[in-house]
């Protein structure tokens, strides 16, 4: 039985992606659980389909960030060396790691996302006088500035601890390839805490990098024949439309009640994924 007909996949993807978009998250974090828990798809097939929609959403939403001058493309390309290497490692590991482990890992990432949604991000200030002329960021000339429309002027910032950032990005790339998610949930904290980028800059730069990270594993999955066009086609199309809707939605509603609602959704999905890891399927059945 094809519970995942094109129409069903399309509608579900619009919903998942709009949810993700409204929260500033990539769609994969909702799409993979929905496909495995309710669509009866195996986790490998769901991950391969999701990675295409992650690429599409990243590329489709990059333009406004780039035009607003928030994306630091030099930082992005440097960190992409680590994320793509991590993604390749993920592709190699995906056949070795057991399916229950992948469900466990997914549940863990959902819980991390939920806790991040509760804790508000804040700028880490201080140590502004670190003028080490030989650190990586200075040598690579990564320091930059961004236009702050509220203040009406450019705010300059310095980039810190690039090696730590690279290490964290390798992990983010690995998780992205294994779980078919954008890993923004791991990239953004890495940029906030390791590189000490301003919040708006790290959000924009993370979003910009997600496409390349996902494409590194996406290319491998595509060539390997893991991506089923019957599933991935409607999912990708629905996600692009959902992301557009989600971005509009974000501007209309953004309150604490909404955040709380999504924390509940994330925790519920995590519980379901955890049950799947233990071999208990309440809905549908994973292959």
């Amino acid at each position: 039985m094809h519970a995942w007909s094109a129409g069903w996949l399309f509608v579900v993807s619009i919903g998942s992606s709009a949810l993700g978009g409204a929260l500033g998250m990539a769609s994969g974090i909702f799409i993979v659980p929905v496909l495995t828990l309710f669509g009866g798809l195996g986790i490998h097939a769901a991950v391969a389909a999701s990675i295409v929609s992650v690429i599409a959403c990243s590329c489709g939403s990059a333009a406004p960030f780039l035009k607003s001058g928030l994306t630091n493309i030099r930082v992005a390309i440097v960190l992409e060396v680590a994320t793509t290497l991590g993604a390749l490692t993920g592709v190699l590991l995906t056949g070795i790691l057991s399916v229950p482990f992948l469900y466990f890992l997914f549940a863990a990432v959902l819980l991390v996302s939920a806790s991040q949604m509760m804790a508000r991000r804040h700028e880490i200030l201080g140590e502004t006088d670190v003028s080490n002329l030989r650190d990586w960021a200075t040598v690579l000339r990564l320091h930059s500035s961004y236009p702050d429309h509220a203040l009406g002027r450019d705010i300059s910032y310095r980039v810190r601890r690039v090696p730590l950032g690279l290490a964290l990005m390798y992990g983010a790339g690995l998780i992205s390839a294994l779980l078919g998610i954008g890993s923004g949930v791991l990239k953004i904290p890495a940029m906030d805490t390791a590189l000490r980028l301003p919040l708006k800059v790290s959000s924009a730069t993370s979003n910009f990098m997600i496409g390349v990270t996902a494409a590194a594993s996406g290319v491998a999955y595509f060539v390997r024949g893991d991506i089923d066009p019957v599933v991935a086609g409607p999912v990708a199309l629905g996600s692009v439309l959902g992301a557009l809707l989600g971005a509009r939605f974000l501007m209309v509603v953004s309150g604490n009640k909404l955040r709380l609602f999504f924390v509940v959704v994330l925790v519920a999905l995590a519980a379901q994924m955890l049950l799947s890891a233990l071999g208990i399927h309440l809905t549908g059945q994973a292959a």
Partner: protein, 106 residues
């Protein structure tokens, strides 16, 4: 002395345009492949052709970030920023390695 090399409106604009248009092109091709069966079009191999169109759209979307990195590499070369061009080429090489890995493990 200007150290703010990361802010380059020209390159930002170019990448924004390429990514935006590429996403729409890939999505439109997928939409075409999905919509064709609904028009009542049927032939000997209509289902196969529609699936191939969807696959082509998916391939376009996957290749888009690869092209973005290539584009950045070319712009860096033209600006004689060889270090960053090399970094972009390295990312490109890793992505190509991914496809090789896919072939080997298929």
């Amino acid at each position: 002395m200007s150290t703010d090399l990361a802010r380059r409106p020209g390159l930002d604009e170019l990448l924004a345009k390429a990514l935006h248009r590429g996403t729409w092109l890939g999505s439109s091709v997928i939409a075409l492949g999905l919509a064709l069966p609904m028009t009542g079009w049927s032939g000997d191999s209509s289902a196969i052709i529609c699936t191939r169109i969807v696959t082509a759209g998916i391939a376009l979307l996957i290749v888009l970030p690869v092209l973005r990195v290539l584009l950045m590499s070319i712009v860096f070369v033209r600006e004689r920023d060889f270090r960053f061009s090399a970094i972009a080429m390295l990312v490109l090489a890793i992505m190509v390695l991914g496809s090789v890995l896919g072939v080997i493990s298929s």
